[in-house]
């Protein structure tokens, strides 16, 4: 199918992963308009970076709502972004060797950052930290 002049053309049916990726891009993109822009507005417009410190984060992540929110934002943004980088590599990195290197780097990076991002959110517990360091 030819591109209609917007983004990439929808991949032909039967190519399961590419069709899924095409739809995922659009669905996650719409969700991210809400999640990412609200995040930016809260962190940079309502508050500013001058107000954000450990206490600010601890206060926010004291609420399960914001933990879930940030986890969804992390997952959607990272998968959406990595999928974009994947498509760009396929478009611009033509030699097989460089492409393998770029793809390997991309997926390893995606995996590592997904894990440390999830750990940061899920394991965050200021009370446990204070207890462990009390008397230091």
């Amino acid at each position: 199918m030819l591109s209609r002049g917007g983004g990439r053309a929808r991949p032909v049916e039967g190519n399961g992963f590419e069709v899924f990726s095409w739809y995922f891009f659009r669905v996650s993109g719409l969700l991210l308009i809400f999640f990412a822009i609200l995040h930016v507005v809260i962190m940079h417009v309502v508050n500013t970076v001058d107000e954000i410190d450990y206490a600010f984060v601890a206060d926010r992540w004291g609420s399960p709502f914001w933990k879930v929110y940030d986890f969804l934002l992390l997952t959607l943004a990272l998968l959406h972004g990595v999928n974009g980088a994947r498509v760009s590599i396929e478009d611009y990195v033509r030699s097989a060797g460089w492409r393998t290197l770029a793809m390997t780097t991309l997926w390893v990076t995606a995996f590592v950052f997904m894990v440390i991002g999830a750990m940061a959110i899920v394991s965050f517990d200021p009370a446990a930290f204070e207890a462990a360091h009390a008397g230091r």
Binding site: R26, D53, A55
Partner: protein, 118 residues
């Protein structure tokens, strides 16, 4: 065909979409790394915040938000063209409409973001 297409709204919007997308992804990776430091406690995390208070980093953040807004507006344009036949006919109007929405949202955001240093 290619000569006519080159450099027109469609190509500019495409190039900007990729550029802003990769820029936002790069910031996301930095941002995941910095928020990971929160697990090491208040002193360690707060000691890194001078980066965010640096004037050049603030300006980069404004650029980042601009990239995000552009990517969002243009993404909606792409989805409209993908799923609505009528959008194909008014694609150039959609592009200029998107540019207007971008500036109407980005300029107030940029001013508010920079208000502590303006």
């Amino acid at each position: 065909m290619q000569r006519i297409y080159r450099g027109r709204e469609g190509m500019i919007s495409w190039a900007l979409h990729r550029l802003t997308g990769l820029g936002v992804l790069l910031f996301l990776l930095i941002h995941i790394a910095d928020i990971y430091v929160v697990a090491y406690g208040p002193e360690e995390f707060n000691s890194l915040l001078f980066i965010y208070h640096n004037i050049w980093f603030r300006l980069m953040e404004v650029l980042l938000v601009g990239a995000l807004y552009y990517h969002a507006v243009n993404g909606v344009r792409i989805i409209l063209i993908d799923f609505w036949d009528g959008a194909v006919l008014i694609q150039r109007k959609l592009w200029y409409g998107g540019i207007i929405i971008f500036f109407l949202t980005f300029i107030p955001t940029a001013i508010l973001m920079l208000r502590p240093v303006l």
